[in-house]
């Protein structure tokens, strides 16, 4: 019996192409992500605005608000990568045909693309609406990248975990919140530093925490996914 070698990256890219094509035609996750983000941004802009916070409070409050918007946008749309497979009945066909690591990598990449697209929409608007001044943009961007990777990675794995459950939405939030608290705390704290300090080194510890978190989550996800996906 010749067991064919399936190149991991090629199979993962096939998953990415297929999911993005289906998303482009249905726009279900994109609509959920962007509409939620837009609604929350309008509310935040109206409630907080550029002038309603004392200047010394802005770094603290705005950093928390920014990551709350990003976090809940992620919760709104990122679970769909696996949930839609179970709901549409396509999971079994995928399970039988594609190697599990390729599925996980493909879904992870799709969620990274979706989250980074929504972050590219949220972050500039948030900065403008709240007059949130960032003194160290390089630190801020690095925090957004590694924070986003952590959110996408943990959300992807949690989505696989809850996809067969009856109350998927509730379970996704319940499992994701404790899992995502460590990177969120690091991202919020780092963003506060980026708003107050001009030095990248001042926020380096928070970047380290995010990089370590991303590494642990990615490794754990690949180690556990086979059992989660097939059982």
């Amino acid at each position: 019996m010749n067991t064919p070698e399936v190149p991991l990256f090629r199979a993962a890219m096939a998953v990415v192409r297929r999911d993005l094509l289906a998303e482009w035609r249905t726009r279900i996750a994109v609509n959920a992500l962007f509409l939620f983000a837009f609604a929350v941004l309008v509310l935040v802009g109206y409630a907080v605005g550029p002038t309603r916070l004392a200047p010394e409070d802005r770094p603290t409050v705005n950093a928390v608000l920014l990551w709350i918007v990003i976090f809940f946008s992620a919760m709104t749309g990122l679970s769909r990568v696996f949930v839609k497979e179970e709901e549409a009945g396509t999971a079994s066909a995928l399970r039988l045909a594609a190697p599990p690591p390729a599925i996980l990598l493909g879904k992870y990449l799709v969620n990274i693309l979706l989250l980074f697209a929504v972050m590219a929409f949220i972050v500039p608007l948030f900065l403008v609406l709240t007059s949130f001044e960032i003194k160290c943009p390089s630190l801020f961007i690095v925090l957004l990248v590694f924070g986003g990777l952590g959110l996408a990675g943990a959300s992807t794995f949690t989505a696989a975990l809850v996809s067969k459950a009856a109350a998927k939405g509730a379970l996704f939030a319940v499992l994701s919140i404790p899992l995502l608290l460590p990177p969120l705390i690091a991202a919020v704290s780092g963003t506060q530093v980026a708003a107050r300090e001009t030095s990248f080194a001042a926020g380096l510890d928070f970047v380290r925490v995010l990089v370590a978190y991303d590494g642990v989550v990615t490794t754990a996800a690949f180690a556990l996914f086979d059992a989660v996906w097939r059982e």
Partner: protein
């Protein structure tokens, strides 16, 4: 290729659905699995495909001195079932190209058209139509193409003739005949026309 099932059973909670069953199949043989609704035909096929684990017993696929469990032999398995679904937002060809890619195949540009023609679909007529807009019978044929595009050594067909017209049933006959020359086929059905394609029968109760 040889399929061996030994003491196979599957329960859901305290309810035993199948087994214990033991059987083996050699290359070129077609097994028909008969039984009333709820007798465990679909469960048996899902266990053989590795989609669910047996509660006891084992299934192995043997070839060239190698012996593999279903989950390690998915490259050699084709599965067709009423509850199998492909992506409704994609066209039939896009679905087949996707599954070929994740199976590690490198099909040429016209491969999807040949697979569709092989199950009696006109590739031009379904070219720009999302799968969800096709008729049930047309989707059944696309699912047959999904199950066979990688020339599997073992083909598991659950109610293959359901929702198909006479031309569709002829396609099923052709698929089973082609599978006979390549490996093993197992057909689960309570339709006598499907079961007539089999060499031997296993009755579930």
């Amino acid at each position: 290729m040889r399929l061996v099932a030994e003491g196979l059973s599957r329960s859901f909670g305290t309810r035993k659905v199948i087994g214990p069953l033991s059987f083996s199949l050699e290359n070129g043989r077609v097994l028909g699995v008969a039984g009333e609704n709820g007798s465990g035909k679909t469960t048996l096929l899902r266990v053989l495909a590795g989609l669910i684990r047996p509660s006891s017993g084992r299934v192995v696929f043997e070839e060239d001195g190698m012996s593999l469990a279903p989950r390690d032999a998915s490259h050699a398995l084709g599965w067709f079932a009423p509850d199998l679904a492909l992506d409704g937002a994609l066209t039939a060809a896009e679905n087949l190209d996707f599954f070929a890619a994740v199976r590690g195949l490198r099909p040429d540009k016209g491969a999807a058209e040949r697979w569709l023609a092989g199950v009696g679909l006109d590739p031009r007529r379904v070219a720009d139509v999302p799968l969800r807009a096709l008729s049930t019978g047309q989707r059944q044929r696309v699912k047959l193409a999904y199950a066979t595009l990688h020339d599997p050594g073992v083909l598991l067909l659950d109610e293959p003739g359901a929702n198909l017209d006479e031309a569709g049933r002829a396609v099923v006959q052709k698929v089973v005949a082609s599978q006979r020359s390549r490996g093993i086929a197992i057909i689960a059905s309570n339709d006598l026309r499907d079961l007539a394609l089999a060499d031997e029968r296993l009755a579930l109760s």
